[in-house]
Amino acid sequence: MQGEEVIANGERQFTPGDYSVFEDLVEHYYKKVFIAAMALTRNEDDSRDLTQATFLGAYKSFGRFQGKSSFYTWLYRIFLNQYFKYLRTKKKHGVQSLEYEYEGEDEKFTKEIGDRKYEPAAIVSEQEKNRLIRDAVSALPEEMKLVVNMRYLEEMSCADISQALNCPLGTVKSRLFNARELLKERLKDYEL
């Protein structure tokens, strides 16, 4: 099966540790990783760096991938590690907080809406509505933002999310539930 390409359900099938397929894997997954990075960082330069760092990390430890999980779940875990590293760097430079700051988050979201001129009456087009929802997701506390993006953008199941984040399934479900509650609360004035 070495070198043979089979793409089933969007997943690239290959022999674990076969470096000859790495280029194909980059081709197949770099867009997905970049989109995931953009959804979390909302910055193109940072997303490019994150995507590159993810694939470099994957290349270095590709020999240790045993195929126990799907390749994308494994790659996503590397991406998450890089993302956490990125957050730590940001925190060090005082740009973003990793802490759960429920009191502060609402202000942050309101401010973002203000900056982007999202007055309730001005939200008419579907495009604006979608952007507002994405802004609301971005303003969620970090752990909630992660699960929401993994669930709705990556379309991962709760079990896959819990495996990737290395946390119990119940925690993933409760974070999703709380995230929806918070979003609902924040978007209630906008009649979406």
């Binding site: 540790g17 081709e27 989109i35 490019r48 470099l56 270095k60 929802i133 709760c158 929806r180």
Partner: protein, 185 residues
Amino acid sequence: MNCKKLKRYLVDFLDGELPEQEKTAFLTHYQTCVKCQERWGSHLELSKKLSASLGIFKKELQVPRALFYDILRETRKIPEPKPLLAEILTALFRIPQVAYVSLIVILSVAITINLITIMNMNKTRPVGFLAKERVVPAEIDRTPLKSSKGYLARRGLANGSVYFEIRSSFRPKVQSKSFIERRGA
């Protein structure tokens, strides 16, 4: 299904992980219960909107093709990692013949070493000077030493001499000292 159960199944329903039977019960209750519709309708609606909004974002986002070449250029700078010894051994042991033969060799060596050790355990071997003279020692008289963990071995030799040896309980080869007291000396 009741309102309490519906709340419990809500996340699984939204994630499409609810079994068919429970899903039917969930929907039947939801469509008839105004209280549940008021409480959870926004969740269901929001879930749909999140999927749609993030789906559009995924579709519309322009991914720079240059990024693909950047990644390849960066990865080519790194030499292809060679498999570690442990990985080579693991790969070798996956072949049944290699695994069986290795197991038999390891077991044979271990059994042989054990047998040799057991056979030599109670043998009194003449050391140094005694070995050269080929004198078979007579009975051993062991006197425990007070000062250290060991004993004084005294043997009457066939030529009339007495062989003394101080043996330590640990590392006997390094610690043991022997001398011969010749009769009439």
